[in-house]
Amino acid sequence: MDRKEILENIQGVLGNKIKKFYEKSEKRVYIDIEPKDLIETVTFIFKKLGARFSIASAIDRPDGTEIMYHFSFDQYGMIVSFRVFMKERIGVKVDSITPIFIGAEWIEREMHELFGIDFIGHPNLKRLLLPDDWPSDKHPLRKDYKNEFR
């Protein structure tokens, strides 16, 4: 399969689960999906298409929370980023992708403590970076977090 066929394959299989498909350049593709389709999408991308999970990044927006899952198709030098958006800013829940592959364990733990996102089905959702006596309602990468120790 070449690069174009991979993208056509993704569009064909995911079909109307794709809310928005944006090809910024040959090497950078952004696809918006619903949170409920996340597990199916990631399983297909990782297991069937053999993409490498590069990283996930969460963003605290004024209107909600966004998580992007960046997958790398190394043979084409292409990164396909899947974007899910939740309307909540606090108490966000989303399915964990760690049961599909272990490589997502740490980044989900990181997002859990820094953004307060709950990953449903994560096998080991404990703290990764923050100290044990850190208050559980403070999430440093949220926009409303004020650094009290500055």
Partner: protein, 396 residues
């Protein structure tokens, strides 16, 4: 009845360059499980970057790591350039390649030295670090600095290189080539090193894929990935070099990959010096429009990826940084379990863990972290080690 012991290593320990806390659960001499605590080095860089302009953030991310100090700014400026497809002058791309490859050479030499030290070969340590010194001299000539070069900027590089320095740099590099070839012979043909590293800490291809591991760790297990070739940046696609891949997945394979990569990097730098065109070094971009960009670079330890989102102001709304060790680190669970305690150090060292890269993001709580390991635990660790050694020798 089997007796289980927990051996704490760290957070401050002579074995480690940086604070990290491992708990090895051992049964006799065998490691049953490992738990890793990180977070002792947090500086809140992702948060900090949101309050810095794009120009200042390049300096900031350079301070994520001292060893791979150019990979982060390189990935970052590429991410910002990706937002609005900023063109970079060709001469600047050549200079970027030279800096990035020199960094790989000094980082790999540093690792070979440390690995030698962990195995009890302090001569290798002294040699490798001595040869590394010539690379640092070259850095000083190019940028004025031995470690933080401050060369990368959005749209180009900050300093030009002088043609009059090239013959001297080439001579220095030639000397290092000879030494690395010598080192290659000394390390790769030594029967004791074979005995200590072959078949130790094996990661299979499936492990690498499942853990999404990167860089030399992946390439030593037969996973052929290298951002320099796969998603070419700078001028890598114009140069003649090859990706080193080994199939075995043990510590020895990782050593071979790193030593051979050093030679490839030396080749790349020499080609850059020969082919560098004249011209501008900076396209001086003005404003960064709203949008998002991803930049990546192959650091000595694997792929570094930066995601930057801009809202049209002069700083990022979100800046996600992922260093390679973040993905390589969890593979310990696979590589160390079932091995003996005596091999634990070299397995831990084999992925070339770079702690400050892994932990770049939180805000430091001044009141926290009372639970760090003190000297008492270290003495306990030391006693346990001695006890083990005694047991091995049969003196009880």
């Amino acid at each position: 009845m089997s007796h289980r012991t927990i051996i704490p290593i760290g957070p401050y320990h002579p074995l480690q360059e940086e604070p990290e806390f491992y708990q090895l659960l051992v049964e006799g001499e065998k490691v049953i499980d490992i738990d890793v605590r990180i977070g002792y080095n947090h500086r809140g860089i992702e948060k900090l970057s949101e309050s810095k302009s794009f120009d200042k953030a390049a300096y900031l991310v350079e301070r994520i790591c001292g060893i791979c100090s150019t990979s982060h700014p390189l990935a970052f400026v590429q991410a910002v350039e990706n937002i609005s497809n900023i063109e970079v002058p060709e001469r600047a791309l050549y200079i970027r390649t030279i800096i990035a490859e020199l960094e790989r050479i000094h980082s790999h030499l540093l690792w070979v030295g440390l690995a030698g030290h962990f195995l009890g070969y302090n001569t290798i340590f002294m040699w490798a670090w001595k040869y590394r010194e010539s690379i640092l001299d070259v850095f000083e000539t190019i940028s004025g600095n031995r470690n933080h070069y401050g060369m990368m900027k959005v749209g180009g590089v900050r300093r030009d290189m002088y043609e009059k320095d090239f013959p001297w740099i080439t001579r220095e590099l030639d000397k290092v080539v000879d030494k690395v070839i010598m080192l290659k012979g000394a390390v790769l043909d030594d029967p004791v090193i074979h005995a200590r590293t072959k078949g130790v800490g094996v990661l299979t291809k499936d492990d690498i894929i499942n853990y999404c591991a990167l860089g030399p760790t992946a390439r030593a297990s037969g996973v052929d990935i290298d951002v320099r070739r796969d998603d070419p940046y700078a001028v890598y696609n114009k140069l003649d070099w090859k990706v080193i891949v080994r199939q075995e997945g043990d510590v020895f394979a990782k050593t071979v990959v790193r030593v051979l990569e050093t030679l490839e990097s030396l080749k790349i730098v020499k080609q850059c010096l020969e082919n560098m065109p004249k011209g501008e070094i900076d396209s001086k971009p003005k404003d960064i429009p709203p949008g998002e960009g991803i930049g990546r670079a192959e650091a000595p330890r694997g792929e570094v990826i930066h995601y930057v989102r801009s809202d049209g102001s002069n700083s990022a709304v979100r800046h996600k940084i992922r260093a390679p060790t973040f993905m390589n680190f969890p593979t310990f669970k696979k590589s160390i379990v079932g091995q003996t305690v005596t091999d634990a150090t070299i397995i831990l060292a084999a992925i070339d863990p770079c702690y400050c890269c892994t932990e770049r993001l939180t805000v430091i709580d001044a009141k926290s972290n009372k639970e760090v390991m003190g000297s008492r635990e270290l003495i306990k660790l030391s006693q346990e080690k001695t006890a083990l050694l005694k047991k091995e020798m049969g003196i009880e």
